[in-house]
């Protein structure tokens, strides 16, 4: 009986796993399964056990399937460097000056406009992120938030809290105020290994 699907059983310890992912039907005891290229293998459910598999009988198809499965599940592991601190620590004053400079340069002359502010906001946050990355503090992840708020006599309160490594993580804020709007940039840097 030739099954509809071609089932692959490359080695005994991965047989059950493959069955789960590739096969919804449990083969019956007397089912014979076909590999490329045209070798007959008995089902793993037969009582007398599986025939010994030699490397040549591994189908190209079967091997690549297993490889892709393994690589998709594998997590890259790096060797230990035994380094607890970054080479160049995050320097808040430098970042603050740079962010302030970018804000004033981009926004000093502009007026608040509902449509353009969206793009302005996005592009400023990307520009600040690129600038901070270029400063070259190693082993840091950054989060940059930019707010543009139209002035119309209302009040706003912005507060932030965090759970992080007090010794190595830091944050910086920069503000730019014009007649029609206020803009605020918040940059946080988190150390990671």
């Amino acid at each position: 009986m030739i099954p509809n699907k071609i089932q692959v059983f490359p080695s005994s310890d991965t047989i059950l796993k493959c069955q789960k992912t590739f096969n919804n039907q449990i083969p019956k005891h007397d089912t014979k399964l076909y590999f490329f290229p045209f070798r007959m293998r008995s089902s793993s459910h037969e009582v007398h056990g599986t025939e010994p598999m030699d490397n040549e009988s591994f189908a190209e198809f079967g091997k690549s399937e297993i490889f892709t499965l393994k690589t998709s599940m594998a997590k890259i592991r790096y060797a230990n460097t035994y380094k607890m601190e970054p080479y160049r620590k995050f320097q808040a004053h430098l970042v603050r000056n740079k962010a302030q400079h970018i804000l004033t340069q981009r926004l000093q002359e502009t007026k608040y406009n509902g449509v353009t502010s969206i793009f302005l906001c996005n592009s400023i946050s990307e520009e600040i992120l690129t600038a901070v990355k270029d400063m070259g503090f190693d082993r840091y992840k950054y989060v940059v938030t930019v707010l543009i708020l139209q002035k119309s006599g209302q009040a706003i309160k912005i507060s932030s809290r965090w759970v992080w490594d007090v010794a190595r993580d830091n944050w910086v804020s920069a503000k730019c105020e014009t007649e029609s709007f206020i803009s605020l940039a918040l940059i946080t840097a988190c150390y990671y290994e």
Partner: protein, 116 residues
């Protein structure tokens, strides 16, 4: 020697869970009140601290940054944008917007994975 892996190899930020947590915090604090300039300080601080406490209670090895903006409703425009430089497989963000008759509230949660 075996390396210690507290969780499975796949560790991703669950944005939905964070969204629910933060939404409950906001509704508990701002649910039935109108904008009050004297109390806003206290409200924002409480929202952020409570959200943070609940997020930490999830027990995952993440660093959290929670930002809350409460604005009086006045017809004015507010735009926020954020860009992040991190590991997209493990880190994530979640934004919760909430409003009532007199005010708008925006809460951003950023979660950054810690590798142990």
């Amino acid at each position: 020697m075996e390396e210690f892996h507290p969780h499975s190899d796949e560790m991703t930020f669950n944005a939905e869970e964070a969204h629910n947590i933060v939404k409950e915090c906001i509704e508990g604090i701002l649910g039935k009140v109108d904008y009050n300039h004297n109390k806003v300080n206290q409200w924002t601080a409480t929202i952020v601290e409570q959200s943070l406490t609940h997020l930490v209670k999830l027990g995952k090895t993440y660093k959290y940054i929670v930002t809350c903006a409460v604005m009086q409703k006045c017809g004015a425009g507010l735009h926020t944008a954020s860009s992040c430089f991190w590991d997209t497989t493990t880190d994530g963000t979640c934004t919760v917007r909430w409003e009532n008759r007199t005010m708008n509230c925006i809460v951003n949660v950023f979660a950054i994975a810690v590798v142990l």
